[in-house]
Symmetry: C2
Subunit: 188 residues, 2 copies
């Protein structure tokens, strides 16, 4: 059974090292890893051509996989890396079991409230809104309800872990917890 | 032919008004609109139960649709609303034609460079990196390459428009451009 390893690790200076660690851990738990970031593109390609080649490569990898584990740790802002989120939606649409983890324990509501400096108010309909009028979801989820909902409705799991700031994208404690749950649910 | 209307408009104070405007424009262009945000959930439900109900409802709506138009305008940060992105990945996996628009003309690279205050440097491998070591994609796309790549590989289009700050989420100029392209490609 093949697991697609989605996450922003591909952007790290030591991406290869962390991806290899995830690949190794996936094997230890009895799965076959499918990891993005393996494609070597010709240096002569334009940025656009490179982007399209990597996108096509990753989509082919996803089509070859049976399961997804997505790293939803907030990335350069409030929410998960959108490349990872695209992949999560993609695999959920294919009916694949989906698991996710985040290295930040605060949920979306807490993070968004902090982003507004705590200035969040309830409107006449009982919705929480920021100073710009935009609604805050308050579902107790780690991110937008489509993400958590998509995972939970497929009997998956979303694991939270508080990593140190230095290991925000390299701490694999919660990733391993996802692997253990997936092994119990899918390999027994 | 049914178009799923994905975007962060559901979070606006005047969500109903903007969604109705999008629904109306979709009909004008010869399509049947499928819009999230229509579900009324029982007030007695917990936040988690509401979230799961809305997620299930939106997934059912997507399964009833043939095409997606996604509003990828940056939302509370650098990138698109992750709920919208999940839906884009979901519809792309189903093989549906996909279109997107953004009300900000700067691409992802320009926005991310600005986020780092312009302090972006090339590493030994020729990758652009921020002060935290994280890589910047430099493909000329509006957002992460999985989003633009998924749309372009399905023969879709990504339309950029510079809306005024006040109309960042309510200006439908680029949305209408998507509808016009979709009509030309799918209804003729």
């Amino acid at each position: 059974m093949k697991i697609y390893l989605a996450g922003p690790e591909v952007f790290l200076p030591n991406a290869r090292e962390i991806l290899d660690e995830k690949i190794s851990l996936t094997r230890v738990h009895g799965f076959t890893p499918v990891a993005p970031g393996d494609l070597t593109v010709a240096p002569s390609l334009s940025g656009r051509e490179k982007g399209l080649a990597i996108s096509a490569h990753n989509e082919a990898l996803m089509l070859s996989a049976d399961v997804i584990i997505a790293n939803l740790t907030p990335y350069r802002g409030l929410s998960a890396d959108v490349g990872t989120v695209y992949e999560l939606g993609f695999m959920c649409a294919r009916g694949c079991p989906a698991y996710a983890f985040t290295n930040v324990t605060d949920g979306l509501f807490e993070r968004t409230s902090a982003w507004y400096g705590g200035d969040v108010r309830e409107d006449a309909q009982g919705q929480q809104r920021g100073t710009d009028g935009l609604m805050l979801e308050n579902c107790g989820f780690v991110d937008n309800l489509m993400l958590d909902g998509g995972i939970e409705s497929r009997n998956g799991a979303v694991i939270r872990h508080e990593a140190s700031r230095e290991r925000l994208y390299t701490d694999l404690t919660a990733f391993q917890a996802c692997l253990a749950i997936a092994a119990r649910q899918l390999l027994s």
